[in-house]
C-alpha cells in the first residue's frame, strides 16, 4: 500500500469533480452501505459521466447497481446477495446475467461472510482472508478467488478468500468536518473496511460541519488522511436512508420492481430522473431535484443516448428471495 505511505488530506469537491477525478473507465469500484447510507447520488453521477467497463463490488447490489448495470457501466459484478430487499428481483441484474443486456456481466460470487472477510483483509493489508465457510457448497467451485487451505496446527480445512482491493471505494456518510474527517452513525456496515481497502476513496455526506462531535455510541470516524474527496450531497443516500436525517423510501423500493422489469420503462425512468439531473445533489431518486445546479451538468454528461442491447422477453418473477 505504498500509495498511502505519505499522508494525504481529503479535498472537498463537487460531486461532478470528485467522480471525474477519482472514477475511471475499467476501475474496480466498491460502493458500500449495508441497506443504510447507500451512495445513490454518487452512483448516479457515475452513470451521468458514462463510465464503462467497471468491476462493481458490493455485498448487496441493491437498486444502485441495478441502475449501473442496466445503464451499461459494468463489466463484472463482485457480490453476495443481488435482490431487491423485501421486494424481490433486481431485474436489470437478472437481464444482464440471463440475457446479456445491455452487456454480458461476469460474476464473482461470495457469501456475505466471504465479502466481509475479503474487505477486512484488504483493509488490513493482507493478501487473503480465512474463514470457516464455503465448504460443501457450490459457491466454492463457482469462484476462483476462493481456495481451501489447511490450518498448519490442526490440519483443519478453512476457506481462503483473495483480499478485496478496489481501485476506488465510494460511500455516503452523515457528516464531515472542514478538514475532511468523516462520521458514520447507526448501522455502520462494511464501509470503514471498504474505504481502507481501496487505493482511492470518495465520500459523499449529508453535510459538512465545523465540529463532528458529539457522535452517538455506534459511530465510525474515518480520518481525513484516509479519504481523497469529500462531497456535500444532502439526500445522497435516498431512496435508502441516512440515520438521523431521513427514512428509507420503502414505497420507492416497491415501485422499482415495475420500473426495472421492462427495459424501455427503465431507460425512460433513468433518462428522466438521473441523466437529466444535475450532478451536485443526490435527491433525485423519486423526482426532479429541487436543489441541483443545472449549470454543473454540461461538461461531464453528454445527454440522452440510451445503452443499446438486443430486445429480449420480459424476465419472469422469482420466488428466490431470502429474508
Amino acid at each position: 500500500m505504498s500509495e498511502r505511505s505519505a499522508a494525504r488530506r481529503a479535498r472537498i469537491l463537487s460531486l461532478t469533480d470528485a467522480i471525474a477525478d477519482y472514477v475511471h473507465d475499467g476501475d474496480v469500484v466498491a460502493m458500500e452501505g449495508f441497506t443504510h447510507l447507500i451512495p445513490f447520488a454518487a452512483g448516479h453521477e457515475v452513470i451521468r459521466q458514462r463510465r464503462r467497463g467497471l468491476t462493481l463490488v458490493r455485498m448487496t447490489p441493491d437498486l444502485i447497481y441495478d441502475q449501473l448495470i442496466g445503464m451499461g457501466c459494468a463489466r463484472k459484478l463482485v457480490f453476495s446477495w443481488g435482490g431487491n430487499p423485501g421486494v424481490g428481483s433486481l431485474h436489470r441484474f437478472r437481464d444482464a446475467v440471463e440475457h446479456g443486456w445491455p452487456h454480458p456481466l461476469e460474476l464473482e460470487e461470495h457469501s456475505h461472510a466471504g465479502m466481509a472477510a475479503a474487505y477486512t483483509a484488504g483493509a488490513a493489508g493482507l493478501p487473503f482472508a480465512i474463514l470457516r465457510g464455503y465448504l460443501g457448497t457450490d459457491l466454492a467451485h463457482a469462484n476462483p478467488n476462493v481456495r481451501v487451505i489447511s490450518d498448519p496446527f490442526s490440519g483443519e480445512q478453512v476457506a481462503a478468500i483473495r483480499a478485496h482491493q478496489p481501485t476506488v471505494t465510494i460511500i455516503h456518510a452523515q457528516r464531515a468536518d472542514r478538514a475532511g474527517n468523516v462520521l458514520i452513525e447507526g448501522i455502520v456496515g462494511v464501509q470503514k473496511e471498504a474505504v481502507l481497502a481501496a487505493k482511492r476513496s470518495v465520500v459523499t455526506v449529508e453535510e459538512v460541519v465545523d465540529d463532528l462531535r458529539p457522535a452517538g455510541p455506534n459511530s465510525v470516524v474515518l480520518p481525513s488522511w484516509t479519504v481523497d474527496a469529500v462531497v456535500e450531497a444532502p439526500g445522497g443516500a435516498a431512496p435508502s436512508y441516512a440515520h438521523g436525517y431521513y427514512r428509507r423510501d420503502n414505497a420507492f423500493y416497491t415501485a422499482w420492481d415495475a420500473i426495472a422489469r421492462d427495459r424501455e420503462t427503465f431507460l425512460a425512468w433513468m433518462n428522466e430522473h438521473v441523466l437529466r439531473q444535475a450532478g451536485s445533489t443526490g435527491s433525485s431518486s423519486t423526482g426532479p431535484s429541487s436543489t441541483g445546479s443545472p449549470a454543473s451538468t454540461g461538461s461531464q454528461t453528454s445527454s440522452g443516448s440510451s445503452p443499446e442491447g438486443p430486445p429480449a422477453p420480459r424476465t419472469t418473477p422469482t420466488s428466490g428471495r431470502r429474508g
Binding site: F93, L135, G136, G189
Partner: protein, 247 residues
C-alpha cells in the same frame, strides 16, 4: 407458518433473523411465550427489539431498539462464525430431501434459466447456527429431489455428512411449510413429515413434494393458532404496514 415457527423458539434462544416470515416469527415469539429471546439481524444489530416489522434488515428501527450495533465484518466473524447463535432462519427457492438449499440459480450456473439473488448470509447461517429453521411454500418447484446449486449446505448426502465435514452444528432441524412441519430423520437426515396442519391430507403433501416423501411413524396434527397468537401477529403486522408508509 410464522406461528408454527414461533412456537419452536424459547427465551434461551439467540436468533439470527432474516426479513419477512423469520422476523415475524421471532417477534411473535418475543411478544408471546419467549419474552427474553435474543434477536440479531445481520446488519449488525444485537438484541434488537423492534415494535414494527422491518422491511429490510438494515431498517433504523432495528438500530434504535438494539442493545448495540456492530460492523458487518464483526457480525459475521465474532457473532455468527464465533458460534454464538442458537437458531438461524433460511428461505429457499429450492430445497432437497436432505435440506440443502438453493437460492442462487435455476438451471446451470454459467447459463442460468433464472438468476436468483444468491447466498447472502445464508451459507454461513446454515453452517454456524446451532440449528436452522427453514420456512418455504410447499410447492413441487421448491421441494425438489436435487437442487440445481448448493448455496447453503443442509445435510449434504444425508447421514453423517455434516460430521464428516467437521461441522459441529445440527443444520436444518425444522422445515415449516403451509401444509406441515418436517424434520430430518435422526439417522438418514431425509426430511420427513412430522406434523400436519389442520385440514391438510397426506396425499396433498405427497403431491406437492418433488420426491416420494416419507411420514414419521407418529405424525401429529399441528395445533391451530390460538386467539392470542393471531391477535399479537395481526397487531404487529398492522403496526408494520403503518410504519412502512412513505413519509
Amino acid at each position: 407458518m410464522m406461528i408454527a415457527a414461533a412456537r419452536h423458539l424459547s427465551s434461551r434462544d439467540v436468533c439470527f433473523v432474516g426479513i419477512g416470515a423469520p422476523s415475524a416469527a421471532c417477534n411473535l415469539a418475543r411478544l408471546t411465550h419467549a419474552p427474553e429471546i435474543t434477536l440479531i439481524y445481520e446488519s449488525g444489530t444485537l438484541d434488537a427489539k423492534p415494535s414494527v416489522l422491518p422491511l429490510s434488515i438494515g431498517d433504523p428501527e432495528l438500530c434504535e431498539t438494539a442493545l448495540t450495533t456492530v460492523s458487518v465484518p464483526e457480525m459475521f466473524a465474532y457473532w455468527l462464525q464465533g458460534g454464538r447463535i442458537t437458531v438461524g432462519f433460511l428461505a429457499a427457492a429450492q430445497l432437497d430431501r436432505y435440506g440443502n438449499i438453493n437460492t442462487t440459480v435455476i438451471g446451470p450456473y454459467a447459463r442460468p434459466k433464472v438468476r436468483l439473488p444468491g447466498g447472502g448470509g445464508a451459507p454461513e447461517i446454515a453452517r454456524h447456527c446451532g440449528q436452522v429453521f427453514i420456512i418455504a411454500p410447499h410447492d413441487p418447484r421448491v421441494f425438489v429431489p436435487r437442487v440445481d446449486f448448493i448455496t447453503s449446505f443442509g445435510h449434504g448426502d444425508g447421514g453423517d455428512h455434516r460430521r464428516r465435514l467437521g461441522f459441529a452444528t445440527a443444520g436444518p432441524t425444522l422445515i415449516v411449510t403451509d401444509l406441515c412441519l418436517m424434520r430430518p430423520d435422526p439417522q438418514t437426515k431425509e426430511l420427513t413429515v412430522a406434523s400436519i396442519h389442520p385440514g391438510v391430507s397426506r396425499e396433498e403433501i405427497a403431491g406437492r413434494t418433488g420426491w416420494p416423501v416419507r411420514f414419521a411413524s407418529e405424525v401429529e396434527e399441528t395445533s391451530p393458532p390460538t386467539a392470542h397468537e393471531l391477535e399479537v401477529l395481526r397487531d404487529l403486522q398492522a403496526r408494520s404496514d403503518a410504519g412502512s408508509t412513505p413519509q
